[in-house]
Subunit: 217 residues, 2 copies
Amino acid sequence: MHISEQERDAVYKTIFSRRDVRSDFINKSIPEDVLKRILTAAHHAPSVGFMQPWDFIVINDKVTKQKIKHGFEQANSVSKKMFTDDQQQAYQKLKLEGILEAPIGICVTCDRERNGPVVLGKTIKAEMDLYSAVCAVQNLWLAARAENLGVGWVSIIEDDILRNALNIPAEIEIIAYLCIGYVTHFKDKPELESAGWLPRRSVDKAIHYNKWTPKVK
Amino acid sequence: MHISEQERDAVYKTIFSRRDVRSDFINKSIPEDVLKRILTAAHHAPSVGFMQPWDFIVINDKVTKQKIKHGFEQANSVSKKMFTDDQQQAYQKLKLEGILEAPIGICVTCDRERNGPVVLGKTIKAEMDLYSAVCAVQNLWLAARAENLGVGWVSIIEDDILRNALNIPAEIEIIAYLCIGYVTHFKDKPELESAGWLPRRSVDKAIHYNKWTPKVK
């Protein structure tokens, strides 16, 4: 199946305009067919040994979201104190999640024991199943962007909070909690870049040929 | 920035026709501008705290590829023996990499210490930097598909083989070794699905609402 130049450019447009959305969600529900499309796109991520280790818990229940928001607040309070005084000033100005504002949350998990103890392609690199589930997150993120839906990954939360709030069994690994919804707009640049938290690294510094070469970070 | 329905469909076409390519590479070099575009797409993946922890080592040197191929063969020989007798029969019929046939390899790494010891968003979930680098792999994979380039992830290889072959420092984590090149065609389905290794799981079994619900795997 051939991808045309026009189609290619649509993919690049989607990749380059994808953002980690925290503050621009609007109160508009996501149609079921749209939700199903982005979850199906996630489900068609690559997976080691075709094990498809992911599951997707869709959260729209307010009480559940409140528990998750509370867990974020606790973790964020702990996290803030890890930074220097100057950094803390900047940190507390940042909005780092949209748990309550986004109409839905999606928790992406990884069943590391799916399809038995020996998985093709995971025999040497045990973390491949986790990485497969992350590929599903990125597929979902880009599919959502293509549907003009914003996605924000909330990583400042203890797994146990999500595990308890969502009844996730002990043997299932938690990969991501994503906030998803329509947005007022997509920002031109990543928020942390605009806020001066860190600059965009030059892509040329990230590219090496045949050997690792030390580069200025 | 709005994504039209036509553009959205191009994204889905790319996501659903992406394959893990092992056997269909052709001997055609990848133009530099195309390579730069897919690496730039990878570089625009989401990253925790905007740390952009990835680097990309582009490999076209034959001697280096031979070392990596040899490492795969060793690891594959060890791996094969982990399966039951019946599985081994099926396993050895599978072609699991295209290291020598693909014109280039790309090793994706993660510098876990980039931008200092405390990284925004990684304070609670330490593996977020690794997951960011995996998001870069998936961006690269989809951008490559949009350029009609096949990508195959070789996970049956010891990190130390890649580390030695590519001079990667001890503190840099190895995420993926990818084989990239033009292909005769993209298969309709994942090879492991067609080969009967595992079936495609129903997406409905992967979707839960508000709570984890035990499902048939």
